[in-house]
């Protein structure tokens, strides 16, 4: 597999390579240590978690924190929250990708009256602090009868301008020659979009997909506001209950963090190849 490197294949001397490895190792430790500490603490007893001197190895090992989280089953169905989170993040992501790719294409490539004004309007909403939308949207969602349902966490967020902005920038970076050729071959706008543009846009879409999914999965303000039955919770409002409950019980709080992190990390490990490698394989460079 041919990957382009910054130096165009420059290898550097042995010394350079060693110092690069040292750098990577140091950086990696800075990134991994807090996560390991979270894991280690989650396996400690509450007393052990803050006992001086601090120790990386739990003494004794205990899964108490996890059983606290998982056995309070009927009122705090962690598994259910987890599934709700995955479901609503997926649904929101599909909605965002489908609508913003279409709209972004029109804004990037098509000519129509009012285009500049419309794009300016859409982009300017990026600058409004999202908090402003919270209360009006709460009332709108309430009017739609969506309070305490997953609709409330799936749909409103899809109005955000980020996806459109992001995909438009992406489309602008695509070469036009293929579209022009397809047009000369007699394809209409829809055919060009579906047969030429979409395949080219795969890496952009993949990136948007992952970012949207994660953004939604991690949103901790809105769901707390609009969901109130535990069986309809997503993870953030659920974890808020658990974290609020155990203010100084660090093992339980850390265990909650571990549980919430696993799906997101797994998703990323699978998706990252698509995002980055996808970019290099897609023939972007024409």
């Amino acid at each position: 597999m041919d990957t382009h490197t910054e130096g165009g294949g420059q290898k550097g001397g042995l010394g350079g390579r060693l110092s690069r490895y040292a750098l990577v190792a140091l950086l990696t430790w800075v990134f991994v240590a807090p996560l390991l500490w979270m894991l280690s603490t989650s396996l400690k007893t509450n007393f052990d978690a803050t006992r001086q001197p601090l120790s990386w190895i739990p003494q004794p090992f205990t899964a108490r924190a996890y059983s606290v989280l998982l056995t309070t089953e009927s009122e705090t169905p962690v598994l259910r929250w987890f599934l709700n989170s995955i479901f609503s993040a997926t649904a929101n992501m599909l909605l965002v990708v489908a609508t913003s790719v279409l709209a972004a294409y029109a804004l990037a490539r098509l000519e129509f009256p009012g285009k500049k004004v419309l794009f300016g309007l859409i982009v300017s909403t990026l600058f409004i602090p999202p908090f402003l939308f919270l209360i009006p949207n709460f009332l709108i969602v309430s009017g739609l009868g969506w309070l305490d349902s997953l609709w409330a966490v799936i749909v409103p967020g899809a109005g955000g301008a980020f996806g459109v902005f992001f995909m438009r920038q992406f489309f602008l970076s695509l070469p036009r020659e293929l579209e022009e050729a397809a047009f000369l071959d007699g394809a209409n706008q829809w055919q060009i979009f579906f047969r030429v543009i979409l395949p080219l846009a795969r890496p952009g879409i993949a990136t948007l997909t992952v970012l949207t999914f994660l953004g939604h999965y991690n949103d901790f303000v809105w769901p707390v506001y609009v969901l109130f039955s535990p069986e309809r919770f997503t993870l953030p409002p659920g974890l808020a209950i658990l974290q609020g409950a155990y203010t100084t019980d660090y093992p339980v709080i850390m265990a909650g963090g571990v549980i919430a992190s696993i799906p997101a990390i797994v998703l990323f490990i699978f998706a990252q190849r698509h995002i980055i490698e996808g970019v290099s394989r897609s023939g972007l460079k024409g």
Binding site: T3, H4, T5, E6, G7, G8, Q10, V24, L27, T28, V30, F31, P34, W37, T50, Q52, L54, L95, A98, T99, L102, A106, L107, R109, L110, E111, L118, T125, F127, P129, F131, L132, F133, L134, I135, P136, L139, I140, P156, G157, G159, F166, Q169, R176, E179, F183, Q189, T207, L214, Y217, V221, P236, I253, A260, S261, I265, F268, I276, V279, K285
Partner: protein, 294 residues
């Protein structure tokens, strides 16, 4: 660029492309934005029957020294400004550096990418709680390592170091990934040509990499400024505004005003003032970078 726009679409086609998004945009962005404007002109609590019209008072009070919110609001705007000022340079450059590192071929590269991106995946709710624990002056791992009692989450200037540091740790992966994608878009031939011309590594970075990245850079810069200016979770969870509200950011103060004190009119007015400030800064930012590009 405009003259190259494809003109051969049917007249309705653009609107059909736009329609699904515009419905969502209209109902959940445009309508609430206007609704918010309306709310900001009242002393508004949606649960009270009486929501008196106050005109521009919610705005003028923000600019009147001695009014209830004047000190707190501008202190919080200051906190947001400081955080943006401190964090953006790091959030833009450190990920670029990491992206350059990860863009080279070495074994286990995919693993390291995953490692650096992992914190972003966790979300601020988890990251905040984790760092609050790590940085606790008395029981935290960081001070344990340093053998000192640095008030990371309690006193200036440490609180700023903590907030910026944890934000870099948390979001580095996001920007790095965008940079990585951008780096791989730079035609290899450009590097080869530069090498033939005898350009040094640094010159190649300056004359090939940076110009090649400029659209990505603009994107990253804009998004990062916006995110920093909307910072909320880190202060809310880690420092809780300490010391004495000095790290209470604008969004955090607005949220307190709107959701805890139920003064939604004032909170909306503050949101608009913050939004206008952001729009202004971003416009400057665009203009500045565009000029440089030419």
């Amino acid at each position: 660029m405009e003259n190259r726009t494809i003109r051969y679409a049917g007249r309705l086609t653009p609107y059909l492309f736009l329609a699904p998004y515009l419905v969502l945009f209209g109902v959940f962005i445009l309508l609430p934005a206007l609704y918010g404007l309306w709310i900001s002109l009242h002393d508004w609590d949606f649960l009270l029957p009486n929501r008196p019209w106050v005109g521009a008072q919610n705005y003028t009070e923000l600019f009147t020294p001695g009014s209830r919110d004047f000190t707190d609001f501008w202190q919080s705007m200051g906190a947001t400004g400081l955080f943006t000022l401190f964090s953006v340079p790091f959030l833009v450059t450190v990920p670029l550096f990491v992206a350059l590192l990860l863009n080279q071929k070495f074994p286990g590269r995919a693993f390291f990418r995953a490692v650096y991106f992992a914190p972003y995946v966790l979300g601020v709710a988890v990251v905040g709680v984790l760092w609050r624990f790590l940085l606790d002056p008395q029981i935290g791992l960081v001070n344990d390592y340093l053998g000192k009692a640095i008030p990371w989450i309690i006193d200036v200037p440490w609180v700023w170091v903590s907030l910026v540091g944890m934000t870099v740790w948390w979001t580095l992966g996001f920007n790095a990934i965008i940079y990585l994608a951008g780096l791989q878009d730079i035609p290899r031939e450009l590097y080869e040509a530069a090498e033939v011309d005898g350009a040094t590594r640094w010159q190649r970075f300056l004359h090939v990499t940076l110009p090649g990245l400029s659209p990505v850079l603009l994107f990253v810069l804009t998004v990062t400024i916006l995110q920093s200016a909307n910072m909320f979770g880190q202060s809310y969870i880690v420092t809780r505004g300490a010391p004495a509200n000095e790290t209470r950011t604008a969004i955090m103060f607005i949220a307190e005003t709107g959701l805890r004190s139920f003064r939604m009119g004032s909170a909306s007015a503050m949101s608009y003032v913050l939004g206008l400030a952001l729009l202004g800064i971003s416009a400057l930012n665009f203009r500045f970078l565009r000029q440089k590009e030419m």
